[in-house]
């Protein structure tokens, strides 16, 4: 089996990452009853015996001594990382995996990308190399950061291009948190657009997540739990609506939202960690869902978001799960995929679901979903037999859909509103190495991306005939 490394950058990245490790440990604890360090665990954790001499690494099959996460934690201010090191997860990370500074990036992409990027280049590359060396067969880097701040968006994207330089054949999947319109960071549009260009050029796949959608989902869950229907009780002990039963007794703010993103990562890697009848490896995700190199923004949608406490799940519920995955309430960005054009779609199912259930639901939903003309049957499916904690099954849908276009257009709007007035521009231009041309290039990259999606959208209304076939001399 292969290994993956998680690189968490900035405050948001580290908080989400922290939730991910918490949930991953809980999930493995639930499944791994015998305390053996198996292949599934080794995909995200090292097993270290500190009594052994050289580096203490233990092979698969032995008892669990001490699990260390395959992670690199980067932040330019110490608060969050220190919090992690004092919290219940301190055993999972060791000091060689951390990279911190004191003063932060001041919500300035240029500071993160250029100043810290150059200053810390050596140590970042060294830490990454060491983490990669601990892996038998490294398949994927998961990068987690926000787009609106300075460290996450600036230094995070710098790390992304370093990953491409140093480990060009390892897949790079980025989970990027996009700011909502009411974001309190004024310069977040600048930071986001500057980072977008890096993501378009250097990432293999991007899973965009919008804060506003997460807020909506969390609100819906609390509405359900505060008795929409009498007698409905939400299951407490599941990984989705964690907090209860997690390692820390009190739930911090943003925890509920970060949990959802952490679940996204758990589910995407489930087939790589656990067995199933139709395995879906991480490199297959990029292969099947990215038809053109720049169009690699995949809209995630996760079901179920909560489980009612009744144990019996009739088939109707299973079908409901598939329908939910395509409704706009479950998307992690505010978008309406059903009314845009699907380029490709992947369904990763966990739990006790059979191929026949999968086929039945695809056939049921297929007529209502507009697919691009050259990919009418464009479904990639994966079945993993281990369900998430507290649920009997779950579904993650990743869609490469033109519905991301409005999100990007809105971002562009907010950017130009500031850029026209040259507001706050001097903060960026003062940074060593930053020029105005970087802004204009980032903007034109975003324009080109929006245009590509637009071209594809335009084909939606037209009924495209089959391409004329090659004619052979007979």
């Amino acid at each position: 089996m292969t290994q993956s490394v998680v690189v968490q950058v900035g405050q948001c990245g580290n908080q989400v990452g922290c939730r991910f490790w918490d949930l991953a440990l809980r999930e493995h604890a639930h499944v791994n009853k015998r305390g053996l360090y198996d292949e599934a665990l080794s995909s995200f954790f090292r097993n270290v015996d500190s009594r052994k001499s050289y580096s203490g690494a233990c092979c698969v099959g032995g008892r669990i001594q001490r699990l260390k996460a395959r992670a690199v934690l980067i932040d330019m201010e110490e608060g969050v990382v220190n919090g992690i090191l004092q919290g219940p997860l301190r055993e999972v990370f060791d000091s060689t995996q951390l990279l911190t500074d004191v003063s932060g990036s001041g919500n300035n992409w240029a500071v993160g990308h250029l100043t810290y990027g150059s200053a810390y280049r050596e140590s970042i590359v060294n830490t990454l190399r060491k983490t990669a060396e601990h892996c038998d067969c490294l398949q994927c880097f998961f990068l987690i950061h926000s787009m609106g701040g300075g460290t996450g968006s600036g230094l995070g994207t710098r790390v992304l291009s370093l990953l491409e330089e140093e480990f060009s054949d390892v897949c790079r999947i980025v989970t990027a948190m996009y700011p909502s319109a009411e974001d309190d960071v004024i310069t977040s549009p600048y930071n986001s657009v500057l980072a977008m260009r890096e993501l378009t050029e250097h990432a293999d796949c991007v899973l965009p997540v919008e804060n506003q959608s997460l807020v909506d989902i969390v609100n819906k869950i609390s509405l359900m739990s505060h008795g929409a229907k009498p007698g409905c009780v939400l299951k407490k002990d599941c990984t989705v609506t964690s907090g209860h039963g997690s390692l820390s007794p009190t739930e911090k703010p943003f925890d509920a939202m970060n949990n959802i993103v952490a679940n996204l990562l758990l589910n995407i890697t489930s087939s790589a960690r656990f067995e199933g009848s139709l395995n879906m490896d991480l490199n297959e995700i990029a292969m099947n869902l990215v038809p053109f190199p720049r169009l690699h923004y995949l809209v995630p949608s996760l079901t179920p978001l909560y489980t009612l406490a009744d144990v019996n799940i009739p088939t109707r519920r299973l079908d409901q799960m598939f329908s939910d995955a395509f409704s706009k309430d479950h998307q992690l960005i505010r978008a309406d995929p059903k009314h845009s054009l699907y380029l490709a779609c992947a369904l990763m199912v966990r739990g006790n679901v059979q191929v026949s259930d999968l086929r039945r639901n695809i056939e049921r939903l297929r007529p209502s979903l507009p697919f691009v003309s050259w990919n009418q049957e464009g479904w990639k499916t994966g079945l993993c037999s281990v369900p998430p904690v507290g649920h009997s099954h779950s579904l993650l849908a990743l869609a490469n859909n033109t519905c991301v276009k409005p999100t990007f257009m809105e971002l562009r709007e907010r950017f130009t509103k500031l850029y026209r007035k040259k507001a706050h521009l001097h903060h960026y231009l003062h940074v060593d190495g930053m020029e105005q041309s970087i802004f204009s290039e980032a903007l034109s990259s975003l324009d080109a991306l929006i245009d590509e999606y637009h071209q594809l959208d335009a084909t939606k209304a037209r009924l495209t005939p089959d391409a004329p076939r090659l004619s052979i001399a007979t």
Partner: protein, 445 residues
Amino acid sequence: MSVVTVQLGQCGNQVGRELFDVMCSDAEDAGRKTRSTAGWERFFRHTTQGDLEARAVLVDMEPKVINHSMSRAAKSGRWRYGETSHFSQKQGSGNNWANGYCVHGPGHRDAVEELVRREVEHCDMLAGFIPMMSVAGGTGSGVGTFVTQCLRDIYPSAFVLNHLTWPYGTGEVIVQNYNSVLTLAHLYQLSDAILVHENDIVHRICSQLLKIKQISFSDINRVIAHQLGGVLQPALTPDSCGAYSRNPLGELVGALACHPEYKLLSVSTIPQMASSSIAFSTFSWPALLKHLRQMLISNTKMEEGIDWQVRPPPASAGRTRTLTAGSFNTSLANLLILRGKDVYSAETGGFGDSAIYTSWLPPDEAFSLWKSPVPFNKYEKSATLVSNSQALLRPLDDMVRKAWNMFASRAYIHQYVKFGISEEDFLDSFTSLEQVISSYTQLQC
């Protein structure tokens, strides 16, 4: 004479294990000594400890499926795979033909060739190779094509019969049509003959004939194994002069693939039913053969829902034939294999009728008949028809059409270019397959 099977990728390894299972139990059931020895000898060898080992090499780019197949085989207690006859890596081919063909294949060439060489050395006489794979994924299709090429290079006088599993039309992998087109185009130059099973068809057999409610891949693989076993188990052929054939692959290829443009073979078996019903059914050769002949000419793979209206066209019908005109399936060549009771009294004249064949091959060249008095796989009487006909024309055309539409917009091409396959290579493959489609379309008069 012995056959070495090379199982490639998840599908190849899963189907292969079912196939060896079927052949082992069939050889056990075959009471008569000569038939039994021939059955063991062809696909198995006895180790010094008296265990039965399959003459097979297992190749996959990730270890889970091979481990599973090997342990299932060993658990059966009747046969197993050689301890060292397998090769796997840690990371799969990512559903990418180019990754399989250009990177993994050459990268592991020496190791795989060594395994094959060792297996061949155990054979007294090598009858040929059967590489087994699917065309939709990355390893089976890409590495499989590369390995077939190596076999061709190293053993130029051995027969190579590829067994391919074609995926469901509605897809499990988005780029399956690309992978299929690249595989078929290359194999056409390398293989002696290509034997095809389609998941869609086998799925229907499972649901409508075998009445299985929740169909799993094991069910599908078992049907494929049954059909393949019916072809590959020993039989008395015209060339073998009263003994069980010692050159099964050569004779099969000779009977069916007489022209380099026509290499696609499909299989039909009759009867097929749930094993619980077998004991309560009676079979007669006239009924079985009548149904099988109609299945052939109306292009159905099941003995239910046959269209009895389809008839061979009258001799005066026009020269040109389009893909859609009529539902009559013209054959180039047919091989009928009868197994079981009273096999010598079976009347097979219907298959020698020149009306069902293309005009430029005389029926006594086009039709071959093999027999074995030993019943196969619990059926008192069974007939297997291996056919070189237009049966695969429509699925092939659909596959090429979908791949071409995708290619027209250049979707996913960068993923292949990344590993060394260019647009030129794609165009070459499309051209070869259009040629194949054209040849089969014109197969009449």
